[in-house]
Subunit: 220 residues, 2 copies
């Protein structure tokens, strides 16, 4: 293989920009991260960053995609899925330099309306759908629940730095975490017989009410 990994200085500028962006976005929020910061990290001019990707939002999308692509969704069998999720979640506790992780990017930037558009799409296509297929669930309910739990605990641990979640590996925290994931995976999705609903729930497409946004520009 010729291109194992040459060196950072010889990488083409676009690649350096994407790597720098991914690193920034996984440590700081979308709004905290300026194009000038990314440009400085990649050792190019601000204008070139913008010129290469068209807009900050598109750069964010490409950085997220780059990190997501090399992070394949849980590929173990259903029985070991909870184990795999747990190990993945507790592995990255100490972050070195190659710390760009999709979960971190999600956690940091789900605030901005711009970033949220990107995250929403990636979440549905790259995470909820594949996990849902693997769970053999007709709806995406359990997949979304697992990922929501993952995100919530990640936010509490890494962003809000809740004390109870600062345990070292292998403690009760990790065990409870594993138990809950297991519980969700093994959950029964079918409604209990004789109770509630007659079946009118799933049929029609309900309209989601969309909160009034300040700037709602169409993308692509």
């Amino acid at each position: 293989m010729t291109g194992s990994k040459p060196s950072k200085s010889t990488l083409p500028a676009k690649v350096r920009i994407i790597e720098a962006a991914a690193a920034r976005f996984s440590r700081y929020s979308y709004e905290e991260t300026g194009l000038r910061d990314i440009a400085a990290d990649a050792k190019v001019d601000v204008a070139y960053v913008h010129r290469c990707f068209g807009s900050k939002e598109r750069l964010f999308a490409q950085a997220l995609a780059a990190v997501s692509s090399q992070e394949q969704m849980v590929s173990s069998s259903r029985d070991f899925m909870a184990q795999a999720f747990t190990e993945e979640f507790f592995r990255k506790r100490r972050r070195g330099d190659g710390d760009a992780h999709p979960l971190s990017i999600f956690i940091r930037s789900l605030t901005s309306a711009e970033a949220r558009r990107v995250l929403r799409k990636s979440l549905a296509e790259d995470y909820v759908r594949p996990l849902s297929e693997r769970l053999e669930d007709s709806t995406s309910l359990r997949a979304a629940l697992i990922l929501a739990f993952l995100a919530g605990v990640g936010i509490f641990r890494d962003a809000l730095e809740v004390d109870a979640f600062q345990e070292p590996r292998g403690g009760r925290f990790e065990r409870l975490f594993h138990d809950i994931i297991t519980r969700i995976i093994e959950m029964d999705v079918a409604p209990p017989k004789g109770r509630e609903l007659v079946g009118s729930r799933i049929s029609g497409v309900q309209k989601r009410r969309r909160p009034r946004r300040r700037a709602d520009l169409d993308s692509e």
Copy 2:
């Protein structure tokens, strides 16, 4: 004593500002919300908003505190706690005039470093601690897990608008949600004494191969 609630137009300016801020912050993020927006809602000048509270961060803190205070932590008995959480989470319209809700404020603004300082403190003191005491848990682990799950699902439903969570009330989503909360509440926090039930847990150090990692990424 302030007593009852007279009318919006007769309320003192400070109160109007706090209410306007709470409403804004529960719909938009900390950074999206400008002091000028809040001032316009409260029908005062921007400078006065700043003068009253000293800084945007302090106004945010007071708005959050005002909303949190009138939202007493689940006071039902432990057996009905999951039920109470679920009903609270799935209740549609909260109040007549404004739907300012601490969970919404959390969800919208956990990005900014400034807002996070405030949120972190309020989360620990106003939510994790009281819930933990009610659960009679020596550590805050289960309380934090419940709240993290709540936040994660809330983010997915309200901020990212994940499709699977847009069900109407009383559906499978609500039932699974309730089950998971129940599970966390009834969880055993003590470390496992003897051997665990079956081999699929984390009891021992597992020697399983890593699931095909991206190897040569070190190089630095």
